[in-house]
Amino acid sequence: MSTTPAGWEVVIGLETHTQLSTASKIFSGSATTFGAAPNTQANVVDLALPGTLPVMNRGAVEKAIMFGLAVNGTIAPHSVFARKNYFYPDLPKGYQISQFELPVVVGGKVGIVLDGVEKTVQLTRAHLEEDAGKSLHEGLDTMGVSGIDLNRAGTPLLEIVTEPDMRSAAEAVAYAKALHGLVTWLGICDGNMQEGSFRCDANVSIRKPGAPLGTRCEIKNVNSFRFLERAIEYEIRRQIELIEDGGRVVQETRLYDADRDETRSMRSKEDAMDYRYFPDPDLLPLVIDAAWIERVKSAMPELFEPMRERFMSQYGLSMYDAGLLTSSRSTARYYEDVVILGADASLAAKWITGTLFARLSLDGLNIDRCPVNSGIFASLLKRISDNTINSTGAKQVFENLWNAPQNQDGMRSLQSVDNSIAKHGLEQVSDTGAIEKIVDDVLAANQKSVDEFKAGKEKAFQSLVGQVMKASNGKANPAQVNEILKKKLSG
């Protein structure tokens, strides 16, 4: 998909608007809940009524600090809010409160892995700002009007800006995914791209290797990883064709149209905005002292890289399994809960990455919505370890518990599992006498396989094991079956 065109080097930088998951807005006490009826979450500050003043949300600052710590950036002890001036109906003040010369986070880096190769993307900065409202046109344009909903106005954003470090669309997507993973892991952003909680702008230019940077175009507001990749791919092709045909790239802002899979000019540099930034006199400098940073640091969740390392050393997991189990904080929590509740660590890893993941994806569920809770799951695994059930039986119990989660209410988890085992008669048969009897019957009925085995056909043995398991309705202890069969056949 992502090929570097011969003779050209692609240079990409990303600006990502992450919506901070605070309960209230950045400068007012209005709610930030998505999907409320228009203008029901916009108060006098959000509407910019005369005489109102912004008061900064401590929670938004803390989330910015947490981000800065997680990417090893510098938390500015002193940062300043500025007014970014432009006119648009969904921006009632006529300016957006943002940060310009002195942002809250300076520098930092995000690691990405693409096709097994690790790379670091340097961050330039991350700054706090407010979101604008929403303009609606549908059903209104025939009346020659647009509708304005200011519920989103004043929602806190952290705009994260990279250096022009990425060299392909695939790298840009890998970075966007890594960043998305990080902010959702930290819990500072819900990561919902459809609702606009995580939006990317891409700056794209091309040059001959070693040449100075080419003229860049900015692709605005891409809200899916797939569209980000396609928009950048399209833009690279457009710029190369333009230059190879003797033209030149004009610095401009372009919009990606997913329906046509192309980018279109929105505005060129000539009529680009002059935002006339200046420090907002309504807001004093934001001061963050070392003690505050320490408090935020101590409340921070363990990050996935150290957690992955810990899973490998503490639970003896492979890098691959440890990676899967730390793919989200809730997955990691589920795994550790199961282990803490007494399940064997490697059995738990095998069952969660196998059976549980498969079942979740079949129902399109996130682990947060898993109908089998960690307590029940741990109990199920304990029953495998103590030989009450074999893995075939356990899969059935799992399926039964998945489909009847209401039975878990008010019942202790081990009891639920045992009830399900008893109800469906799935106890493993470990009684030697009983298994010997089944084996004898199977051997008597399958003389051909016995002869084949004695003639040296190893496959015949597996077929006999299968017959015994079948005859026991899948309930015989497979290890014992193997042992008894071997004994009888060699006897």
């Binding site: 605070t22 309960a23 209230s24 007012s28 006490g29 209005s30 709610a31 009826a37 228009p38 203008n39 029901t40 979450q41 916009a42 108060n43 006098v44 509407l47 009524l49 008061v55 900064m56 949300n57 401590r58 929670g59 938004a60 600052v61 300043v80 809010f81 001036n85 006119f87 648009y88 109906p89 010369e101 002195l102 303009s135 609606l136 046109h137 209104l140 344009d141 009346m143 020659g144 009007v145 647009s146 509708g147 304005i148 909903d149 200011l150 919009l255 929105m266 002059d274 006339r276 420090p279 006199p281 807001l283 004093l284 400098p285 934001l286 001061v287």
Partner: protein
Amino acid sequence: MSLTSDDIHRLAKLARINITPVETERTLRELNNIFSMVETLQAVDTAHLVPLCHPIAIIQEMPLRLRDDAVTETNAREANMVNAPQQENGLFLVPKVLE
């Protein structure tokens, strides 16, 4: 530094103000007067000074006041929209915006 009438037109455009040729000329004259005062200020060497972000910092160190992250507002749409010249289904209506 002296402004030209092109600068005045650009500023007017950014501020979304329509000005007549007579007003352009008067504004140019007035702004140039102001700029000559600014030039006097610019003669001062400020290289060794930290930019002042807020005038109150001259008087005392005062950090930004913060509030807890809590929802304190309830829906007041009806009152908030009393002055809207045009509205429909809870939306403020404005002259059509073209993207």
